[in-house]
Amino acid sequence: MFLLEHLWIIPALPLLGAALNGIFLRRQSHAVINTVALGTTALAFASAVELFREFSALATASVPWVKSFFPWIWAGDFRADYALQVDQLTMVMVLVVTGVGFLIHIYSTGYMEHDGGYGRFFCYMNLFMFFMLTLVLAANYVLLFVGWEGVGLCSYLLVGFWFLKKSATDAGNKAFWVNRVGDFGFLLAMFMLFRNFGSLDFTRVLPAAASAPADPAGHFGTFTWIALALMAGACGKSAQIPLYVWLPDAMEGPTPVSALIHAATMVTAGVYVVARSHIIFLHSPIAMAVVGVIGCVTALFAATIALVQTDIKKVLAYSTISQLGYMFLACGAGAFSAGIFHLMTHAFFKALLFLAAGSVIHAMGGEQDMRKMGGLRKKIPWTYWTMLIATLAIAGVPGFSGFFSKDAILSATFLSPYGGKVLWAIGAFTVLLTAFYMFRLIFLTFFGKAEYDEHQVHVHESPKSMLVPLVILAVLSVIGGWQAAPALWGGENHFDHYLAPVFADAASSAEPSTPAMNAHTIEQQLTLVAFILATLGFFIAWWLCIKNPKLRDSLANTFSAPYRLLVGKYYVDQLYAGAIVRPLVWSSNYVLWHAIDEGLIDGTVNGVAHLTSETGGQVRRVESGNTRSYASWIVLGAVVFTSLLLWLAVR
């Protein structure tokens, strides 16, 4: 019961590591920094495992387990404590965050070996872990928001890690600002929640929401506004349309950062919030539809852009956006546990993909353009095999983890009353695209002939510190989905059962429109369709990249307009720059700065002073030192006084 009583230890451990590394140990040897950073993270993971053991021993009635450590905000009726909560959803998130985080820390010791900011890097990484753990362990929206903002801060610090490079600092700024737009939505949601439920604790808000009547279909009621505001925040943090633009730019950061923050943990915070607040979303049909549509459209949109990218990390970035779209699609269809399941499997294989890509980049001496790679299969075999496993997982090849999670999402979309056949069709088509661009990446990088100068670049395999995490993640990418094998494959869906207490109300309100036996058959058919599409994608990639490479160029020339549109990423960045950024900068410059600050505020303050000075200067002229002038002033006074008396007398 020790950890359950002292939950604060789990986030505090990486915080301690960050403080030590950041304040005292920045200039020490790598061994010292490693001990502190890796040690605290390992301890955090061990604590998470121990917490799992303790939590499993708890009686059902004590779940969710909430522990309040000190009263933080207490203003009138509003109370927000520093309180941490554990339930099954928290457990999944904590294990994923600490486990994958620990593996990435190990990887970073090898990847960042020659970097001058080694200590600073691990300080920021540990700080990120602290904030992310605060986010998932929080028992109220306010503490969650602290973690939310904190991970945004760490994202800024880590994306702009090589701050001497302008593109990196620009990317860091962009990440922070776009997130901020989403955070505004999150804040509005918190305000509305407080106004309607009087508290922001999960244990008070969520049951109260459950017992309140739902918004009728097509009506913008209270729940709709709250859910839409939360979704706005989630769009910012989890890079959905329209706030996804920061994630591709965030690839400026070191590859371990991309793996940890932009694949496994931070970007999943949005999905976590939606899952945590699922009862609010379920009470609003409009919000469910919005979430599903946004997720689906984003999945398709990002996948199309990934088809033509040449930078290996950018392909993975757009792939992340696309897979996050799948998670939101699941939430929009009411299958929240399927969304969380995909979150977990995605953490495994996407982190693996990024780390392997980092290994490739390291082997190529810093090259990230796939057109300059080729034929690396024999030269860096460990990297090749692990990356291949991850690609099979993401493409949804049966047996690998991604297969189970993606299938769960697609069948839930098809069957759920919130979903539609259209959404399913788009999702299925995206499966084809996903398979295509991922295998294209594999073929361009590892197959074919070397497009680089073999004398300039000495391709070498990465050190053990980088390879061991790759192998562990590869294993997880394979077996990670097995415990959630759905019934139709002969397995018990343990994952859904595990999360069932959290999403109990979701299951009851999402009545399947088809009876169970029929659902089974439909599921089997959908799985078959998805498998066929994935295989089709694989073949198209093989045809275009291995068999007939010149076809790619001629296709690009034939369909040059769509091709350029995709390469230009639909020109969304330019659109935002022209429609939002430029007017904003202009108005800040001319309206807020020159007109209001300098003209109005400074003008008023200086004007008052100036007026006083001028008045004084004018009044001073009465005291001229000249007797005759004094005399005339006296006469003036006499005239005024006499007139007054006369006027009073006459009246």
């Binding site: 002229r621 005291e623 030192g625 007797t627 005759r628 006469v635």
Partner: protein, 100 residues
């Protein structure tokens, strides 16, 4: 028959002339004399009113005004002599050490 108001009008006119003289002359002594003119005009008004209301207080007041005017003239001219000694001029506009 002469209404008393004629005397008041005359007093007002003399007073106005005294003010004009005070404002427009630059010689200190002449300015002083304008002040005496103003005092005289006021005295005339007092006496006229005293006659109009058949009260003697007006004339008593004139008596005191004359005494005070005498004292004031004495001290004032002493000051004028001092100014003339120190500033070597009788032009009041030259007595302007307090000018800004």
């Amino acid at each position: 028959m002469v209404p008393i108001s004629y005397f008041i009008v005359l007093s007002a006119v003399l007073f106005g002339l005294g003010v004009i003289g005070f404002l427009f002359r630059r010689n200190i002594i002449t300015m002083f004399m304008s002040i005496e003119l103003m005092l005289n005009a006021v005295n005339l008004a007092f006496v006229a009113f005293s006659r109009a209301f058949s009260q003697l207080q007006g004339q008593i007041f004139v008596f005191f005004v004359i005494v005070v005017a005498a004292a004031e003239a004495a001290v004032g001219l002493a000051i004028v002599i001092l100014i003339a000694r120190n500033r070597q001029t009788l032009n009041v506009e030259r007595v302007n050490l307090l000018k800004l």
